[in-house]
Amino acid sequence: MPVRHIHVILDNERASLLRAWGSTQAEEGLIRKDLFSEREARSQIEMLYDALTKGVSASIESDALDPEADCWDDLRAALAEVTRERTKRGVSTGEMAAFVLALKYPLFERLGATVDDTNGGVLIEAINQFTRLIDAVSLYTTELCISERDKTIKRQQDEMMELASPVVELWDRIIAVPLVGTLDSMRAQEVMENTLSAIVDKKADIVIIDITGVVTVDTQVAQHLIRTAAAVRLMGGEAIISGISPRIAQTMVQLGVDTGEIRTRSSLRMALADAFRTLETDVVIRTAK
């Protein structure tokens, strides 16, 4: 019985409920006019509403709104689409959850007005069932938002990883790895991998690792630099570390870091000059008069 009541209201009151759902959102500032048009918002709401009605209709027979049932597949799909669309435009997780929950009260009002008072038990049961369903749907939306966000974060991390460790071919047989920001273990690993494979790809004999943009050098970072230089040497190349600021030089000495046989130069410019000398490359710059 309770599910049939819900279905009747969803079916008969479609127009007014849609309007009410939309206006609740407007009142609560959930329709973000800055992010999407009213027409778009309306069509999204209709799509969700119809998928919901379909699920409720399929549940009449069992008279139970089981959030785990298959009849909500359409609703889940619609939610996924709307969520993706909205998170992409910057709607927050909270706003999405509130958007789903906002359907409850207009529906309850109509349930109260339609269902006979003497049938108090049915009314309570209907409200219970519907609340449970909408809460589950809202939770599902939240999960969708979070997973959508996680995907974005993962993608950005990957992009940053690549951005942060480019390998540049400076000259024939000379490559440079300008490091920027902080160098944690994972990035250091990535840098080493990129650097070593670039030696093969670019047929490089000299690798200049420029740390001008590195914020701090602690023992770990220093270790990573030394290891990278050692690996470069094993492959038959030579590493030059450039861009050691006076402050970093002090820290490294205080940390007792032994840079051993590694060539270090104060600037990328000095390192490049040094590389030319090693490769016996004469560079002549002619200025047109």
Partner: protein, 118 residues
């Protein structure tokens, strides 16, 4: 003798090409063979090409260091060439930086440097 490594004399330089599927006893045997050949041919330098090796653990790393050590004692400077990036990274992490072994990017470079040093 299993042909797990090829030894070639080219213009007074001994070239050693190590095969992908070399095993522990082959590589130990290679020490004997190499020192004999270097001595017999009066080689002026040795180039060991390990580009076929996908894995170098501490055992193989130690043998390579010893090969180079033998070369130095027999007055034949030894170059290691063709180490793969993944192998270099792994060896460094194992703490084996082979400081006593000279390295070059490829055979050509090693031969050029050996010639220049003579």
């Amino acid at each position: 003798m299993a042909q797990a490594a090829g030894l070639f004399m080219v213009d007074e330089i001994m070239l050693v090409a190590i095969d992908e599927d070399i095993n522990d006893s082959d590589i130990v045997a290679l020490q004997d063979r190499l020192s004999e050949e270097v001595y017999a041919n009066d080689a002026q330098g040795i180039v060991i090409d390990i580009s076929a090796l996908e894995i170098v653990d501490t055992f193989v790393g130690r043998i390579i260091a010893q090969l180079a050590g033998i070369g130095i004692l027999l007055d034949a400077p030894t170059y290691l060439v063709g180490m793969r990036p993944a192998v270099a990274m792994t060896l460094v992490e194992l703490g084996m930086t082979l400081p006593s072994v000279k390295t070059a990017r490829n055979l050509q470079h090693a031969v050029t440097r050996l010639r220049a040093a003579r």
